[in-house]
Assembly symmetry: C2
Homo-oligomer: 912 residues x 2
């Protein structure tokens, strides 16, 4: 169609598939703009046409036309209809068929196609051009009564529901009745007669519904279908979808009008779908299914047994050969694995669609690497294609997908730590440990929530399931830290610790029953599901990560508290330890009593004695870490949590005391009375200390540097342990690089005071040992005031490490311990918060503050080392934010190190 250039007041709205150059010219050559104007589907059809690939002729009505139509509230803009008519004439010319002609009728489909794929909204009307006259003549000519009437009823049904707004249920009801009266169970068993009757009934339904007969004029059909697609853009379904997928509302949809081909007209016909490579493994071979003498939906519906695409080679060797060439052609063109639909009509191959194919994580990395080797894409492109979350797959066992489908989903919770876990339910840490150790059972620990003294049970378990707790709760932190799959916050789960069972709805699960967790999806399934264990040594993955390392500018460090963790982190590519939480070392079974006696000590001397007992233990911890991280920096955070965390819980004590009082009241013998009295005395003493340590808001209380300032002996001991360990490691030939981190500072004076005291200890140790260690002192930026006055802090600190968990808490005024089980869930459900700020850094509020802090800090000290050690350090979008702010490194749990390496590379690529 070489139409005259449109008048000034009239745009060009219609392009034949073959006119892609005209479109490119109009939009200035930008392929994104071509897609915007023609929609994704139209652009692809046009592109395939240009490549000389057999595509049924057709044309696209642009998104501009749609927008013009909608803003004119339902009138075809300018000469749009004339342009459509002209395009139809071109189709008639190319195909030799005539629209509405009785002898040689042209049939077309009408499909919507927006810039971005919107699967729920793709309205389609097939077989436009049919009416009673055309159908009768066609039957006479071909004898294919059943096929023709099946085609006709499809038109009436689709037109009725899509264009005229008839509820599709009405049509389906007719088909069901037809099946029942014919005594068959599947549509394919229905006869020509049946479809003829159904068609008549369909037309009646349309008349009943609209008050008018089904339009017999093909041009009326075409015009109404076009309009229906336009209008569908503003339908509720589409608006909801766009809101959810964050697609702008002003794009509009294109309309594709394409000549029909049929794969079900005989044994020289076929239809199929195929991937250009194996979507599961990534192997470079065609993979797909086809059916001889069938329609596209038959392949998808699974009603007939499909054949593997390899068999097409035997049955239609020339077609197969042509298809294989097209597949390669398309791959080369799109430089990606293609997902294609094709139809063979009387021996002739037509491509109906091509798009980038979906694939597994394994396939993704293999294809990416293969395509680099094939010269199809660059390394950068390969890195860009693999999504960071796909890497997760290689780090955790996964539930077997086929088995999962057959099993019973009993609940869904927060997916806080990925991977599959299968085991027997144990309701406390001791049981979990005992079963695991003594009976080598696989255990899932199930608790209302977890606490520090549950850690041994968590370590002994395959996975963790709780009814309370959020994305940054203790359970989540520990689970991610140790790579334990975990599903948390399953609030409908009622745990009865006395009966040793839990209830989910009406279902009762007893201790010892088998369950399976998918920590990636948050699903809890009944029974013992098989798992598959991918290997982290996948060579394709390692190659991609290697390329990512070449690209990224952010270093990736890990949060690790033990030599084991550190070693694992290093094997995953960690370039340092960004956070060693020393308090985790205080919870060990043999250490907790010492810590408690320190807290309960009555004199400074007793306190110092307890602290002295901790020194060699801490020194050993650090010594192991320094050896594991030989030559790499290790950031060690001094004691952070409030002291009451090391004592029994207040509520527990109150309850125990109440019980003891009852016991005392009911005691019969003087001996019983006396015993109980002394127990009460003891509990009371602990309760008093707990009360004296009680804080209304411990998160904002006496912890971090505040503790260090109140009990300097404690942090001095820790620094002594660090430097004694470093000297020891150094003497053994290792190169320890300690970075001492002072937490929770809000005023520079805190840092000045504490750092000066601790540096003196460090220098003293090194002097006594006669060894010089390379070291730094710095602070966490986790309180808004520290960020706001970062210029002052940078005068003292040699490094900043953003503690974004706490920073998010205080910037939002949201307690992470409470909110994820409470109103935050409601907020996320209602879309009040676009993202969970504890999962992904809030770029607006927290981001602004971090930007200020970096700017202020580097203004004072351009060489300031800046990193992040909050949970966000392993989140790709947070990593991108940190990259943008010019951080030196991100630090995350060992299991997220590979993800972070890739995400850091993506941040560079996205910024370029």
């Amino acid at each position: 169609m070489q139409s005259e250039s449109p008048s000034k007041n009239d745009s060009r709205y219609v392009y034949l598939f073959g006119e892609v150059e005209a479109v490119e010219k109009k939009v200035g050559g930008d392929w994104e703009e071509v897609r915007a104007l023609l929609g994704g589907k139209g652009a692809n059809l046009a592109e395939m046409t240009r490549l000389g690939i057999p595509v049924c002729p057709g044309f696209t009505v642009t998104t501009e036309a749609c927008n013009a139509y909608l803003s004119a509230t339902g009138r075809f803009p300018g000469s749009l209809w004339d342009q459509e008519l002209a395009a139809m004439k071109e189709l008639e010319k190319v195909t030799g068929k005539v629209f509405g002609d009785l002898d040689n009728p042209l049939l077309v489909s009408c499909r919507s196609g927006a810039k971005f794929s919107m699967p729920g909204m793709m309205d389609t009307v097939l077989n436009i051009g049919l009416n009673d006259d055309v159908v009768q003549k066609w039957v006479k000519r071909s004898g294919e009564t059943r096929f023709v009437y099946d085609s006709y009823r499809r038109l009436v049904q689709m037109f009725g529901s899509v264009v005229l707004g008839v509820d599709d249920e009405a049509f389906e009801k007719v088909i069901t009745e037809q099946r029942n009266s014919a005594g068959v169970t599947s549509d394919s068993q229905l006869s020509a007669e049946d479809w003829m009757k159904a068609t008549e009934k369909f037309k009646q339904i349309v008349k009943d519904h609209t008050g008018e007969s089904f339009p017999t004029d093909p041009y009326d059909q075409l015009k109404l279908a076009t309009e229906a697609v336009f209008r569908s853009w503003d339908g509720k379904r589409a608006i909801d979808y766009r809101n959810a997928a964050r697609i702008p509302h002003d794009l509009g949809t294109a309309v594709n009008i394409q000549t029909m081909v049929f794969g079900n007209m005989g044994d020289d016909c076929a239809t199929g779908v195929a991937m250009s490579r194996n979507a599961s493994t990534g192997e470079p071979e065609l993979e797909g299914d086809f059916l001889i003498n069938a329609q596209g939906e038959d392949v998808v519906a699974g009603t007939r047994q499909t054949q593997p695409i390899s068999e097409l080679k035997e049955q239609m060797p020339e077609v197969y050969d042509a298809f294989e060439k097209i597949s390669q052609r398309l791959e080369k063109h799109y430089r990606n694995m293609q997902d294609m639909e094709f139809t063979v009509e009387t021996g002739e191959l037509w491509l109906l669609q091509t798009r980038d194919g979906k694939r597994t994580a394994q396939a993704e990395v293999r294809i990416a690497v293969d395509m680099v080797e094939e010269g199809l894409i660059s390394k950068k492109e390969a890195v860009r294609r693999v999504q960071p979350d796909q890497v997760d797959f290689f780090l955790h066992p996964q539930l077997d997908e086929s088995e999962r489908k057959k099993s019973q989903l009993i609940a869904t919770g927060l997916n806080v730590s990925p991977g599959a876990a299968v085991g027997q339910v144990a309701f406390d840490a001791d049981t979990a440990e005992a079963w695991s150790r003594e009976n080598s059972k696989k255990v899932i620990m199930v608790r209302p929530e977890t606490k520090p003294d549950d850690v041994h049970g968590m370590l002994a378990s395959q996975g963790i399931l709780t009814s309370r707790g959020g994305r940054a709760s203790h359970a989540a932190l520990v689970a991610r830290q140790f790579g334990k799959p975990a599903v948390l916050g399953v609030s409908e789960m009622e745990i009865d610790l006395e009966k040793r069972q839990m209830k989910i709805g009406e279902r009762i699960i007893r201790e010892g029953d088998w369950i399976s967790l998918d920590g990636s999806s948050g699903e809890v399934l009944l029974g013992e599901l098989p798992t598959v264990v991918p290997e982290f040594d996948n060579p394709y993955l390692l190659k991609v990560l290697e390329w990512a390392d070449e690209i990224r500018r952010l270093e990736v460090w890990a949060n690790a508290d033990s030599p084991q963790d550190a070693t694992r982190a290093r094997s995953y590519g960690a370039q340092g330890i960004g956070l060693c939480r020393t308090e985790h070392m205080f919870f060990g079974a043999e250490r907790l009593p010492i810590v408690q006696s320190m807290i309960l000590s009555q004199s400074e001397e007793d306190q110092q004695n307890s602290i002295d007992c901790l020194l060699p233990l801490q020194r050993d911890d650090f010594h192991g870490l320094f050896k594991a991280m030989d030559g790499l920096p290790v950031v060690i955070r001094l004691l952070d949590p409030p002291l009451h965390e090391f004592l029994p819980a207040y509520n527990e004590l109150v309850r125990d005391l109440a019980d003891l009082r009852i016991k005392a009241e009911l005691a019969k013998t003087p001996q019983q009375k006396e015993e109980t009295a002394s127990q009460i005395q003891l509990k009371n003493d602990i309760l008093k200390r707990v009360e004296s340590l009680h804080e209304s808001n411990p998160m904002l209380g006496t912890r971090g540097v505040r503790l260090g300032i109140l009990i300097p002996a404690l942090t001095k001991m820790q620094v002594r342990a660090i430097f004694e360990a470093a000297c020891l490691a150094s003497r053994e030939g290792f190169t320890p690089i300690p970075e001492v981190m002072i937490p929770l500072t809000c005023h520079v004076n805190e840092l000045k005071l504490q750092q000066a005291e601790l540096q003196q200890v460090a220098r003293q140790v090194m002097e006594d040992e006669g060894i010089e260690i390379k070291y730094k002192f710095g602070t966490m930026i986790e309180i808004p005031r520290a960020a706001l006055t970062a210029d002052e802090f940078a005068e003292v600190a040699e490094f900043f490490s953003f503690g974004t968990n706490d920073l998010t808490q205080t910037v939002f005024g949201i307690s992470r311990d409470d909110a994820e089980a409470g109103f935050l869930v409601h907020y996320l459900e209602q879309g009040i918060l676009p993202e969970n700020p504890f999962a992904s850094l809030d770029p607006v509020g927290v981001g602004r503050l971090m930007e200020m802090a970096v700017e202020y800090g580097r203004k004072t000290n351009p060489d300031l080392e800046i990193g992040i050690c909050g949970e966000h350090g392993g989140d790709p979008s947070s990593i991108a934010l940190c990259h943008g702010l010019g951080f030196n490194y991100v630090s995350c749990s060992p299991f997220r190190v590979p993800i972070a390496r890739l995400a850091a590379a993506h941040a560079v690529l996205d910024g370029d």
Copy 2:
């Protein structure tokens, strides 16, 4: 002394008192610079000399000389000594006496004098120029042996301790021995002989201490004394003082050398101190004391009965007349009330010192107003002179000062709410209320800390005393709100509620004992002290406030929850209500049960029923407020605290349950058993709800807008009540201006959602009532994220009100409920934090954030109304910060409204 202008390499360091013009010329006429160079004392002496007021001739060695001396580590710079010698020659010329001459000796004093008064550091050496020869000749000439040797020993003693560093104890010991051996009790009873002996012993002490004899050369004395004063600037005492008073360390001190006069040489001699106006009342009359034939220190020491200055008029009419003229002259010159020291030597009047006089708050306002009327100062100057804290005095009864001195101070705590309170100790709210109501007793409520259900007892009490709780604790907030004097956080106070007594150290105070509190100083005194009640209708104060109102640009609003509070606030000049806390209305005795039933309700319907019951009550509250604030804005904050605050405490419930379980175990009859069982059931239900509402950090939990979003019925009811009340008031002829404030927002979406829902309720009510009310919707900015994204918030909110209590908490990461009783005290004591950020806004951290918020907010909406409703709204330095940030108003408790009016004016004056 008209010396040549010094050479380029030699500065001029010495100025005669009469050479003030030369100093002014040197520094460019700036009087502050004159004070910097000559010190305060030297500048005043020079100024008096210029005014022709009789000042003993002398000269000043500049601070520059001191700094040059100190930086040259102890060498006199340039020609300093020559300049001193030349100045001495001038003194000899003027006085006709000669330094060191036997017949007509010139004696001088040597005094330090820095730019800022440093009382602890003022080193003085009198009678320089005496030695054995001069003394003997003087005795011979005058026969005044006792006087002369007393003068001599004073030189040796002062020189010894100040210049030579001898411990003054050594000298005092000698005097004590002398008194003992003479068998007298006072120095004035010592004879000439005694002083001669003492002088000899003093000289021996000096020799023993220094290894050298007391210097007999007057010039040696002068030089060493000058050096001693220089060195005293770098003494520990002076450095500590400057650190505490925040005086820069590089100012240096000047040295004043002045000829001696003696008021104790006969009955034509006298000495005295006098104020130019009455320092207690401000009345315009000379007020002071004098002694005939005495020395200055005799007047101060109180060893002799002084005479009122009025009697000088009879005894020395000419001197009195001259002094009165000088007093007026000095007042006119300094435009301030003067505190003067004078000496009369043989009938001749000499002024030794003048400075601005200290005075009471009453005197301050009266003098300020009088001086405006006398044309001495401008209204602005009058306003500037009255300190905001002085206004406090007029708002609260005060302890009688004379009685306070006689009574026993038993403890000191935080001075959270000013004024005096005297009453009998009551250890709980019910007792306090009962005693106050039934027996009309005056009560001081003493508690470990207070909670909302203690409020009735607090209201019934004269004052509040607690052992825990900080400046922004519940007790502090309520006390300030209701103007109740309060002393909190007396940690050494051990309250035994069972024994109904408390222990402070070893002292036991029983319930019913009388104590007195000074909420302004934080002092707790034993017994029933008398109080004095100043009136707020002091006409001078009202005049000053009126002038302040003309100056200030900030409006002053008040935080008030009841019509009574609002009326009081209005009478104090409040221009609106900046914070009405609606939850205070929920704690009333008849309301709390309804609120509790709402919280405990099992169905939404039950919940709605409870909420409906609250509607008429809330409407009444608001109706009263609107009437009281007719025509002025009333900002009403929707429900803010977490729900658990309305339920009993966890440990209370556990304790009650234990009691009930014991009761159940001991129950004898089935009926008893059944009754107890049902009580247990009820308590258990409440306990479960309390547990389900439990949050680890309620300050960061489900409260404020979060509650409004979870239970929209609640805030909708409140808005309905507000607008129904407004319509009612409007119909009665009042002009209500409600401003609905949504608290604790952290994301603009919260505000969007809640505001839209509530605005709809407001419009509905107005439509139903057929009345249009002028109103606004806005938000508190009390979470860092709201401040950081204020641009987004300003698109929705019509006003911002900074909730600086919460904002300070989150910006610092410090829980106000805990910290003021915990580490914060340590931080303030150690100077780690320069100020308590809950008392005075942190200008660096919180201030930066507020500045951002104002900038962002006004960028979006230049007309945005911005105020502050945190406790800081009544703090003068915080008010200055708010003024600087361009706020529209500050809002504070009614009792601080007058203070804020004045502080707001000061902010303008300080900014000009």
